[in-house]
Every structure is written in structure tokens, then in C-alpha cells.
Symmetry: C2
Subunit: 501 residues, 2 copies
């Protein structure tokens, strides 16, 4: 068995096939990773930060090759891929910053107190890495959610070894990225075996079942993610599974915004819809708007260009999904954009449905169609909207467009949407996920399997850390973060009072 990349622009093979990893191969990589755990987790946070920065520099130095390889396998284009690689290396650098700042460890010290019930001994709590992490790459971000992406960066930052299951849509990019990361880790003096890449569906299953694997990060489809989530939970020793699955990303255009800035909203929507050929987990698939907005929206989507999707299967699934939707009798076709000739090209599609019909068919009409398709749900009364929004499935994002005069309504809509999505956007569009301290890229099921955690941003490191509390330990045996003198200068909470470094 092997994996072959294809050029989505032509459907022709590109690059050499990459061999699938056997069960014994998976075992070797996972065992080597587990063997590197003690040494890696024993490095100070600052030492790990320096290693991550060297990996970032090495990837940047190979940008030309990596971007060209990825463009051949994904057709996402050199400008977008160049940006995505920079985002990926800056992500590694952000984790360096997070490690140096130190509060990720949540160091907490409670002095003994004989007067509490029960009496309180000396308690010192810190977060420590869980162990080897399995990372499942996504198809749609060959860098940022792939071999050297956010899951890998945050797990290495946490002090965990990483085994990546490469995505079959870009085997060459995965192999080249893996080569650069491995060489950079070696040059930086990281323990051998700390990081590995495996290929093939069966290798992924073996990885989730492997006794050495202590947690899983996944970005992909709801069906695939649910299967692996169930597998992780059915182990004799279940392990945390952080899956980012499907998301329809509802957008609400309030009456004032539709009346005052119809063309701006329509143009922004179409631009967000076709970005990356709609292959973003944050693509806006559902738009609630007054019927008056339908005409400018249809015009904008008619004028928008599709492109080649990432692989034949996705392109086929998109086409059959939207054809089935069109044939369902529930929605009315509103617009079709253009598509390139040949390969895996698809065109943007827009449908519309009155909110009453939508309310009776929510399950069917909130299925994600991965690609540049969306449904406009037309409404008249804000109360109808407020009744329907809570019934939406969980999403990564939800967006509100509001004119200055209707903030009160926007606030009521936001109170509902915060139970539906992990990121709420005001007068913007959901595509484009900044990598920052305050990022939350997560949301209620099915957008993620665990609503407490994010797969992007500084706090994504928390997924790979578990608390340990040291009770009455002598100073010389405590982790550095917990010693009285605070030699690393980390922010700490002492007797309930948070102190900065």
C-alpha cells in the first residue's frame, strides 16, 4: 500500500508515492516517541522554546520547496501557501513565547493551614505533559493543520512527543515537512525519536489504539472524527481525544445591516465563501438574512469563482451533496458561480429557504457541504430568528452583521449564539483564524469533540497537560516552578493570590 499525491488542477499524479506504514512500523515510531518522553519533558520550558524556534527557522528556510510541493498536491496557490507556512512557523514561535512566559504551567502554592477543615498541608500544583500525542493531519491546511501544524507545535511545547498521521491528499508535502522538522529537531539537540510521521488509514487506527499514545489531536470530517473518537474511548484505558469535526458557521444579517450595507455584506460573504474553494472549517455555510438581501447575495456568488478541490473524493462529495440538496425540494437554487476546466474543479452554489421551512428541516439543512456552498435562510421577524438559532448544531464560529442602530438586537442574538459557537464575530467573516493568546478555535458538538479546548492559539497547549500536586515535598525535590525561590520567575498563585513574575 502507498499514498499518491494528485494535482487537483489536472487530476494527474504528482510526485513519488509514499509507502503506508505497517503496524510494526507504527509500533516502532510510537515506541521511539514514548522513549523520548522523559528526556523531552525534563527540558525546561525555555529550552523547549528554543527548539521550537529552530524548527520554525528551518521550515522558513525551506519555504520555496515546501510551498511548491504543497501547491502541486493541493492547488491552493503559492500566495496562500506561502502565507500559511508563515502562519505555521509563527505559531511555533508563539508557543516559544508561551513557554517563556510560563503561566501555562498554572503554578499554584498553598501554605499549610491547620485551621481549615480538613487541615491544609503544603500543596503545590503544576501542569505536566501527558505523554506521546497522536496528531491527525487535515487535508485543507497542508501546513497549519498538518505535520508541523498547531497540534504538533502545542504538543511539543507541552513537553510531549508527537507521532503525526499524514493526510493522504498531500503525502509529498507531509514527507518533506517531516524531513525538515526531524532534521531541525536533531540539529537543536532534541531527543531522538521525539517526532515521527506515519502514513495510511490503518496506521492511524493502530496509532489511536497504541498503548504508548496518551492523547489524540484530530482535524477532519465528522464521520472520520467520530470513528476515531469512539476508538479512543473504547480503549481499555480511554485517552483524551480532541477532534475538530464539521461546522456550518451560521451568519446572521440583521435587518438594519441588510438595509444599509447590502452590497458590502454580499461581497464580503461571497469572498469568505469561496476562500480556499470553501475548504475552510470556518466557511460560512448558513446565512440568515432578510429576503431583500437575496438579490445582492445571488449577484455576488454568481460573479465568484470556484476552483479545484483538494482531491477527487471531496470534489465528488461536494457535487453529489449540493445536487442532492437542490433535488430535495426544500431549497431554491439562488446562484451558481464559475468553475475552472478539468481536474477537481467545482463552482460556488447558493440556495435559499424561508425560515419556516428551515425550522421544520433543521437536521437536513444544517448538514455541512464541504466546499463553496451555502444556504440563505430568509426571515422577516427577529423573533423567528431567535427561536430558530438555538436549534442549530454546534459550530466553530457564528457571525452577526448589525448596523449601529440595532445593537440591542445584536446583543440578544449573541446571547443565543454563544451556546452555538466558540467564536462570535461582529460585522466580519469567519474565515481567517488568528493565532493569538485569545484565540478560541472550538465549539459545541459536532464542531469539536470537547467543548472545553481549542486547537488554535496559546491555550491549545492545555490539551496536553495534566495537573500534579506535590504535598509536603522538600524544596530540593520540587519542580523548579514550585520552589519557594521561583528560580524560573513564572507567574504563580500563592495562597489564592495571583502574582505576575
Amino acid at each position: 500500500m502507498s499514498e499518491q499525491g494528485y494535482d487537483p488542477r489536472t487530476g494527474k499524479p504528482v510526485g513519488e508515492p509514499v509507502e503506508s506504514t505497517s503496524d510494526s512500523g507504527v509500533d516502532a515510531v510510537a515506541s521511539a516517541a514514548a522513549a523520548a518522553f522523559e528526556a523531552w519533558s525534563a527540558r525546561s520550558a525555555a529550552e523547549r522554546a528554543a527548539v521550537l524556534e529552530q524548527v520554525a527557522d528551518a521550515l522558513d528556510a525551506e519555504s520555496e520547496l515546501l510551498v511548491a510541493t504543497a501547491d502541486g498536491e493541493t492547488a491552493l496557490g503559492v500566495p496562500r501557501l506561502t502565507t500559511e507556512l508563515k502562519r505555521t512557523t509563527d505559531q511555533l514561535r508563539l508557543f516559544g513565547e508561551v513557554l517563556r512566559e510560563g503561566s501555562f504551567a498554572e503554578a499554584t502554592i498553598d501554605s499549610p493551614n491547620p485551621d481549615t477543615v480538613p487541615p491544609r498541608p503544603d500543596l503545590r500544583r503544576v501542569l505536566r505533559p501527558l505523554g506521546t500525542v497522536a496528531v491527525f493531519s487535515a487535508s485543507n491546511f497542508p501546513f497549519a493543520f498538518s505535520v508541523a501544524g498547531g497540534d504538533t507545535a502545542s504538543a511539543l511545547a507541552a513537553g510531549c512527543p508527537v507521532v503525526v498521521k499524514a493526510h493522504p491528499s498531500h503525502p509529498g508535502t507531509s514527507r518533506e515537512t517531516g524531513r525538515v522538522v526531524t532534521a531541525a529537531l536533531r540539529a537543536a539537540g532534541a531527543p531522538e525519536g521525539l517526532f515521527g510521521v506515519v502514513h495510511g488509514t490503518e496506521a492511524g487506527v493502530a496509532l489511536v489504539r497504541h498503548p504508548a499514545v496518551r492523547a489524540v489531536g484530530f482535524t477532519g470530517s465528522t464521520a472520520g472524527g467520530r470513528a476515531l473518537f469512539d476508538l479512543a474511548n473504547s480503549r481499555p484505558d480511554p485517552i483524551p481525544f480532541y477532534g475538530e469535526l464539521g461546522s456550518v458557521n451560521p451568519t446572521v444579517v440583521l435587518p438594519g445591516a441588510a438595509a444599509h450595507t447590502p452590497d458590502e455584506v454580499a461581497t464580503g460573504f461571497a469572498g469568505s465563501l469561496v476562500l480556499g474553494v470553501g475548504q475552510f472549517c470556518t466557511s460560512p455555510g448558513l446565512l440568515f438574512a432578510p429576503a431583500s438581501l437575496l438579490e445582492p447575495l445571488a449577484a455576488a456568488v454568481s460573479g465568484a469563482a470556484g476552483g479545484p478541490m483538494l482531491n477527487e473524493r471531496m470534489s465528488g462529495a461536494y457535487r453529489s451533496g449540493v445536487d442532492e440538496l437542490a433535488a430535495s425540494g426544500l431549497v431554491t437554487p439562488a446562484a451558481t458561480g464559475s468553475k475552472p476546466e478539468g481536474g477537481y474543479g467545482v463552482e460556488p452554489r447558493l440556495f435559499s429557504v424561508p425560515i419556516g421551512v428551515f425550522a421544520e428541516n433543521t437536521e437536513k439543512l444544517t448538514e455541512e457541504h464541504f466546499g463553496p456552498a451555502a444556504i440563505v435562510v430568509t426571515y422577516t421577524e427577529v423573533d423567528e430568528l431567535l427561536a430558530v438559532l438555538p436549534t442549530l448544531p454546534g459550530s466553530l464560529t457564528a457571525t452577526v452583521h448589525s448596523s449601529p442602530g440595532e445593537h440591542a438586537v445584536a446583543g440578544r442574538v449573541a446571547e443565543v449564539l454563544r451556546h452555538v459557537a466558540g467564536r462570535l464575530i461582529f460585522n466580519g467573516w469567519p474565515t481567517g483564524v488568528a493565532v493569538a493568546w485569545g484565540t478560541h478555535h472550538g465549539g459545541p458538538w459536532p464542531s469539536t469533540t470537547n467543548p472545553l479546548h481549542t486547537s488554535v492559539g496559546a491555550t491549545s497547549i492545555r490539551r496536553w497537560l495534566a495537573p500534579v500536586t506535590y504535598q509536603s515535598w522538600p524544596e530540593d525535590l520540587l519542580p523548579a516552578e514550585l520552589r519557594d525561590a521561583n528560580p524560573l520567575g513564572v507567574p504563580r498563585r500563592r495562597d489564592g493570590v495571583l502574582g505576575t513574575a
Copy 2:
């Protein structure tokens, strides 16, 4: 169907039977709780703190009745139960402190930055409550891990409604506690329906399946916990399940400690073993020690008194479990303590096994025997110990006894044990869990279903909170914690820099 309490000292019924809750009854309670969510979560943290403190005061005011009722159903004794109720009400007050301090909300603000890749908009992240929480009471702490226990306190603090599934061993205590909490919440002006109690195994199953329930807290057996964990994960929309299951709580006595303070160690061990008739999740079930310690340990346990266990099933399971262990041929009986006449009384039991035999039978010999039984694993070389410790199942605690001259060895043992347990104790005993900021009451599977979280202490509130990030929202529509002026004065991170209030 109904639940009947029994006096463990006599085995005779005590109090009136309490009716099991029907499926429609569960639906009514869960729906009422869900209906109270918006109103409760909209209260400020300080308002919720005041309500929790009123509940604590009301419970304290009814201490005499509650303790007497619990003593009748559990035989844990008035002194212990008085202390446990105080710990429970102080726990509610600690959450009041946590709410007023404000950093539990993890407020984070990132200013816009057009120069990052991708450009960063204004991002403001805060934690918000998940929704209705189902709490499964434990048998062994009729107050602290029951109707008004840690899961209930932390979930209410988070802004979540709570439905408690009462434990059948103390139905009267559950009903009385529920009555006091409900009345106190009403008097404090909390929304109607915010809190409810249901009874019966089937009611528990219905609760985990109920669409309105968004997370579950559980303390109990590994078998029961695993079944409910699987149920939570098999929902169409899986929900977080925080289960505290079984724990053998290994203790390591290093050679120097065994040589210098044998009697102190033996007495301390026996005291911890029989505390609460061994019915603590942190009871020390496994002791690694040089063979020389066996005699003082046996003497201490022989002189120790057992007591009545909480119910007939537990008492029977304890007796058959230790009898089966004794008959296994793997271990040698080392000591048997005394037991009271009648009722559910059991005696402390101690067994011993050489580390070589233990290493070949780890699975069998690390089964938890809930009650006052333990196995002493005798070792000669520290290297044997270091080879065996990593093979232990996950525990809530692990303990090291060390003389001043062997800190280097204690440090090596701790490095191994921190992967085995969530709390490491030095020269102490695992029973007695302080309720503090730095508490961690959790650990690797099977001690808990989720190694990232604690069920005791300030950070247990994190289980019921999920992040929401507001992108580019106008100041007037932001939650108070995220407004520029910081009207609540909560600690926040701004552009990566942590600031105290």
C-alpha cells in the same frame, strides 16, 4: 420502586423510603434546570458567590439534623460527619472566593495587529458555563461528594444548573440536604428549578441521556463509572464526563525510612488504612516496603479496628474480594484487625507479596478492594521498585516515605510516580483531601476518566466552563469581564501580558 436507607450498625431499615424518580420525573427536573440556565448564568460571579454562601450558611444551620440523618444511614459517626459537613460548606465558601477573585474566567484580550500572519482582529476570550450538569453522588461522603458536594458547588459556581442523582445508600440524607439547598436557593433569589435531586439507577441513566444535560460529574466504582462514561460518549452529541473511579494509591517506603522510623510508618499506615473503614478513594491499598517493615505493619494492622461498611453490597464485596485474594495463592496473609459485631462490619486485612511475584501478577494484585485491605509488596533493591512502579494503574495519589539521607532516590521515585498519580505525598498519608487552590484530586485512568481535571479544589470549576472568543465586538455588547474598563476588576491577560486586578 423506592430507596430505603439501612443502619450499617444493625442492618435494619432507617427512615422512610424515598420514591425513585420516573423517566418523566427526570425530564421535568432536567427541563426545569435547563430553563433556569439563562437567568443563573446571567448573574455576575459576585452574585453567584453570595448565593453559594447563603446555601453554606443554611446547611450549617441544619447541621444537627443532617449529621444525625447521615449517621443513621452511614454509621460514619457524628465527629467525622460534623467535620465533613463543615468541609462541604467551606467548599461552597471557597467557590465564593474563587468567583470574587475572578481569574477563573480566564479573561484575555488581544488588540488588533495588522502585521501578524494572518492579521489579528480584536479578540477577547472568556470562559462561560456549559449548561445543565448531572452530578452522581458517592456513597462514602454523604456530604462532601454528595448532594451539596464538590461537583454541585463547582457547577453552581460556574453558572450551571445542577441535577443530582442521589446515592441509594443515604436516601434520607440526600432528601434532607436537597430540601435545605432548595430552600436556601429560593431564599437567596436563585431562579426556580436551578437545582434538583433525582433517585434511582434508571433515573441516573435517563439523566446522562437527557438532551438538556451538557456534562456529568461522577464519583463511584470503576464498573459503574465506565458504564456511564460509555453512555455519555455514545450520545448523538457526546458530552464531557468527569468520573472519579477506583484508585489503589500506592505508597513507597524507602529503605532509610523503614530502618529509621518503622513504628511511625506502620502506625501512620494502619491509621490511614482504617480511616472511614477504608472507604476513601484515597485509601492506601498498596505499600512497597522492605521486608523488615512487615512485622511492625502487621502488628499495627492487627491492633486496628474495622467497622461497619456503608451498605450490605459493599460489605459483601469486600469480604468476598479479600477472601478470593487470600485464596489466590499469590499473597500471604499478614494481619487481620478486629471488627464490630453485627450489621455490615468488616475487619482490616493485610497481605504481603514479594515484588517478583507482584511484577508477574500486577493486574490481579492492583484490583481495588474497597474497604480496609492492603497488600505490602516487599522489595530489596530500589531498582526493582523503579522497574515496577511505572506498571501500576493510574491512582489519585502516590506517597513516598523517605529519610533525610535518601532524597536523591525519593526524587527518582517521584519522577516515575508523577505519571501514575495526580497527587504526590511526601512522608504523609493519602487520606484527607484538603479543599484549596492547589488541590488536585484526579489522576490517570482508571482513577479518573479525564486526567486533565480535578473534582476537588478551586480549579474543579474549570470542568463546567467552555471558552467563547468575541471578535471585533463593540464595547457595549461585550461581557463585563472583557470590556476595556474592566468594571469587575478581574485579572486579565492583555496582549500576552498577565495583569492582576
